[in-house]
């Protein structure tokens, strides 16, 4: 395939599949997804997507060839990854790292000791080609019928990561993927599939960024996680997309008996985000925690949420969100808890707080809690506040200038989430917050 391919068509999808040398099942899957995509309507809730022209996107771009060593990357992208601290993190804090530019992976590494334990950490394409059993998992948690962007993703997905953790193997150091959108007007559709076998554990981190263009870009990734009996998976995403990016994702996990799945999401960028990580608690005693931090700035609409579907007894969910809204921006949090009739002894707690930093800032919290049996314990709290002038003055009267004081208050507000974010990212988040306050006050 040429380095850049635009326009969505059956022909394009077939060519993409052929170029990737995919088995028949995947080609058929893609074509079926395309048909479904064409039939489904745009989402009927949430942000205005009318400025997103799906006919004006580049659906495939490969501006950079894959390399084995960072030094082999072209100057510009190498500098970007260096500035993001990736090679350094790889050395110091990670068990494995993948980096993708636009549609294709450009770099991947994994510690030998994990390889020796049988851990698979590879590109999604390679997994599709080499492991026929991937068919039993791919888009089984999120079928294309679920929504228009799931179907689009299924038709044109490219890149992403496949992870398989063998039974009982605990990956103590995080694995990370970094997604960079480089080409103007590109669509990025990476697919992440994680299978954590019985009793295994994994912490996976995703980072995302893009340079700013005037033309609209689309990021529509999909994440599917299978946490089998007693497995533990934590999935952390920090996205700092530029303000021309529509970030419309599908993320869902199945937690079997005794398993736990944690989603930690920091949403700082994009023009529009729709992100509702979901855990289906399938087995007795499964639990999930969903920690979300959003920082909506001028012109942004961050529509996020969390869903917990309790389908078995003694399952637990905790959905916690902290949103900060600055300028003319909007944040929405949709917290959904569903408890099926068979899920006796389920416990769910939803807590969302928003801090508004400007008079024009808007926020909404939309909790939906639906229990079909009586033996459940449900809690819900929501607060919306503004920075108190008394707090601000108090801090300033001790020698902190206005931006230091504001950033301390906001950091304090989001601290329940920040302390769950890996240190390097938490430091970066604090820095981003501080920078934006300096800008806002100056």
């Amino acid at each position: 395939m040429s380095k850049v391919a635009a326009r969505l068509s059956k022909d394009f999808v077939e060519r993409l599949s052929w170029e990737k040398n995919e088995p028949d099942w995947m080609r058929e899957h893609r074509l079926r997804c395309l048909e479904i995509f064409e039939k489904l309507p745009m989402p009927r809730f949430g942000p205005d997507l009318s400025a997103l022209d799906l006919g004006d996107l580049t659906y495939y771009a490969r501006p950079v060839d894959p390399v084995r060593r960072w030094e082999e990357l072209p100057e510009e992208i190498r500098r970007t990854f260096q500035a993001l601290g990736l090679p350094e993190a790889e050395q110091k804090a990670l068990a494995g790292l993948g980096a993708q530019v636009d549609s294709e992976e450009v770099y991947r590494s994994l510690l030998n000791e994990l390889r020796a334990k049988g851990v698979i950490f590879t590109s999604m394409e390679k997994a599709v080609r080499e492991f026929p059993w991937v068919q039993d998992y791919f888009m089984k948690i999120i079928p294309p019928e679920d929504n228009k962007f799931a179907a689009l993703h299924g038709a044109v997905w490219s890149g992403g990561t496949f992870i398989w953790i063998p039974e009982g193997v605990e990956v103590e150091i995080p694995l990370q993927a970094y997604y960079r959108m480089q080409t103007e007007g590109v669509g990025q559709f990476e697919h992440t599939l994680i299978i954590a076998e019985r009793g295994s554990s994994l912490h996976y981190i995703e980072g995302c960024s893009a340079p700013r263009y005037s033309r609209t870009s689309l990021h529509s990734g999909m994440v599917e996680i299978y946490a089998k009996e007693d497995a533990r998976v934590r999935f952390t995403t920090i996205q700092n997309w530029s303000k021309n990016v529509y970030n419309l994702n599908n993320k869902r996990a199945w937690a079997y008996a005794g398993a736990s799945v944690d989603w930690v999401s920091g949403s700082l960028g994009s023009k529009v985000t729709m992100l509702y990580p979901t855990t289906v608690l399938l087995g007795k005693g499964a639990r999930t925690e969903n920690l979300s931090f959003t920082f909506a700035q001028e012109g942004m609409w961050l529509d996020t949420g969390a869903r917990a579907i309790h389908r078995a007894s003694d399952t637990t969910s905790r959905l916690i969100s902290r949103s900060v809204v600055q300028g003319r921006a909007k944040s929405v949090f949709r917290g959904l808890v569903y408890v099926a009739s068979e899920a006796r002894g389920a416990r769910a707690h939803v807590e969302c707080s928003t801090l508004l930093l400007s008079p024009e800032a808007r926020t909404e919290t939309i909790p939906v809690i639906n229990a079909e049996n009586d033996e459940v314990e449900l809690g819900h709290e929501a607060t919306v506040g503004r920075v108190s002038q008394e707090q601000l003055f108090y801090l300033m009267s001790r020698g902190l200038d206005e931006s230091q004081a504001l950033s301390l208050i906001v950091n304090g507000f989001v601290s329940p989430i920040l302390k769950e974010i890996p240190l390097e990212y938490a430091v970066e988040l604090r820095r981003l917050l501080e920078m934006s306050f300096e800008g806002a006050i100056a």
Binding site: M396, S397, R398, G399, Q404
Partner: protein, 240 residues
Amino acid sequence: MAALEVRDLHVRVGDKLILRGVDFALEAGKVHALMGPNGSGKSTLALALAGHPEYQVVRGQAFLEGQDLLGLLPHERARAGLFVAFQHPPEVEGVKLREFLRLACSERGKGFCEFQKAFPQALRRLRMEEFKGRELNVGFSGGEKKRAELLALYMLRPKVALLDEPDSGVDVDALRLIAEVITEMAAFGTAILIITHYPRLLEHVPPDEVFVLLDGKISDRGGPELAWKIGEMGFEVVRR
């Protein structure tokens, strides 16, 4: 030169003129008391000097060691050496007391290494060791908040400290402790102004000078005996 000199200060809050020409001076290393009945404008004076945006200075001047104070922003006044202990310090959730004091100290020009040593020492001095990891004023009782204000004073070592009712809501033991710390700070060289409406604390920290604030003006000034007289007979004694 006075540590703090206030001349003809007029302060308005909303439409209401609260201070109508206040004059006084504080000397380095001395303890002063500002007494007055409720509503006489004592807290207004402290907050206006600290630069609270709702307390508008309409006339008058204030100098900290000769430097014009009123042209400075609140944080600049603090960095210049002014400190106000609040009567009602707000709770700031998620912000660690330690982190806040570390930032405040570094803006006063102290390095982190010094802070590492000074902070535990100050906690011990104020008998607040168990507050080390706590969030700023969150869940503190009235008396604990007062001690936390004194902790900040002790850490920041300002040139001038205006202490707005540091004794309200504290028990006898804490009162003694607060008095000791104030005495120690004065010995260090800080000019202290204790703002209070009754002389309980002053019995433990005899003031060098007492000012009485009535109807927005300093109506009387004198030595410690003025405080004892007010203690016995109330503010009526100075009204006449």
